[in-house]
């Protein structure tokens, strides 16, 4: 689930750790149990929250897969999804084709 990073309040902050995972992205996780919390842009323009942390997260629709060209062979979903390659994701975010 994506939103501007300023829309998210995290408490308590003491257990949240983060990794600068690329030139533009940060991955947040719980330092106590390893639960994945979010991925966000370094400029705070967007934050995507990992759904496992949300209440009532079992009642969702799964309609998009990104970085589909990185998907390994050993699994596939039967869901009909819009599939974007890494290049298509970058193009959509930057506006540069």
């Amino acid at each position: 689930m994506a939103a501007p990073a300023t829309a998210l309040r995290v408490s308590p902050k003491a257990s949240v750790k983060s990794l600068s995972s690329s030139d533009y992205g940060v991955r947040g996780f719980c330092g106590n149990c390893g639960t994945h919390l979010y991925w966000k842009m370094k400029d705070d323009s967007m934050i995507a929250v990992w759904i496992g942390t949300l209440e009532h997260s079992d009642d969702l629709s799964f309609d998009t897969q990104i970085f589909i060209d990185s998907k390994p062979e050993h699994y596939a979903f039967t869901n009909e999804t819009k599939n974007l390659t890494g290049a298509e994701v970058f193009a959509a975010v930057t506006g540069i084709p």
Binding site: G34, T35, H74, Y75
Partner: protein, 149 residues
């Protein structure tokens, strides 16, 4: 049966690395709520023949997750790494498939805790689906610690 070659696994940042021979038995996918809270998706578990051999472990942290299990992750980058039973032999851990090279990951052997799986995703393979009761053989379901949903 062809013996698989040793594979090297790693978290995202390299603070935990290990080696081992992935079991040719195949990949087990756990759909339980605890796994899905931790990484927002099912846990893709690979068993390692003879146990995991840690090479670098400065980032390895174990979380006491339930009555029966512990979850290993990297405390520097958050990568989900291992699941082990509290009475496991050293190194007898289920390894998160994502830490291994894609070429070393076996085909899906089974799905477990299928009764915990939400309806919004479905895998395309036809391997057996086993419930929590199937897996535990009548033993009590593990009680998770921490937040419950």
């Amino acid at each position: 049966m062809t013996k698989a070659s040793p594979a090297h696994g790693s978290c995202l940042c390299g603070a935990v690395t290990f080696s081992g021979v992935p079991s040719t038995r195949g990949l087990g996918i756990c759909h339980c709520k605890m796994c899905r809270v931790q990484s927002s998706g099912p846990f893709f578990a690979v068993r390692i023949e003879g146990g995991v051999r840690l090479i670098e472990e400065r980032g390895l942290k174990w979380y006491d997750a339930s009555d029966i299990g512990e979850r290993g992750f990297c405390c520097d980058c958050g990568s989900t790494l291992f699941w082990r039973s509290k009475d496991a032999e050293p190194g007898d851990w289920a390894v998160s498939a994502g830490t291994l090279p894609d070429s070393a990951i076996p085909k899906i052997f089974e799905h477990i805790w299928i009764d915990d799986k939400p309806a919004y995703y479905e895998f395309a393979d036809d391997s057996p689906r086993r419930t929590a009761a199937d897996c535990l053989g009548g033993a009590p379901i593990a009680k998770p610690k921490g937040v419950k949903h």
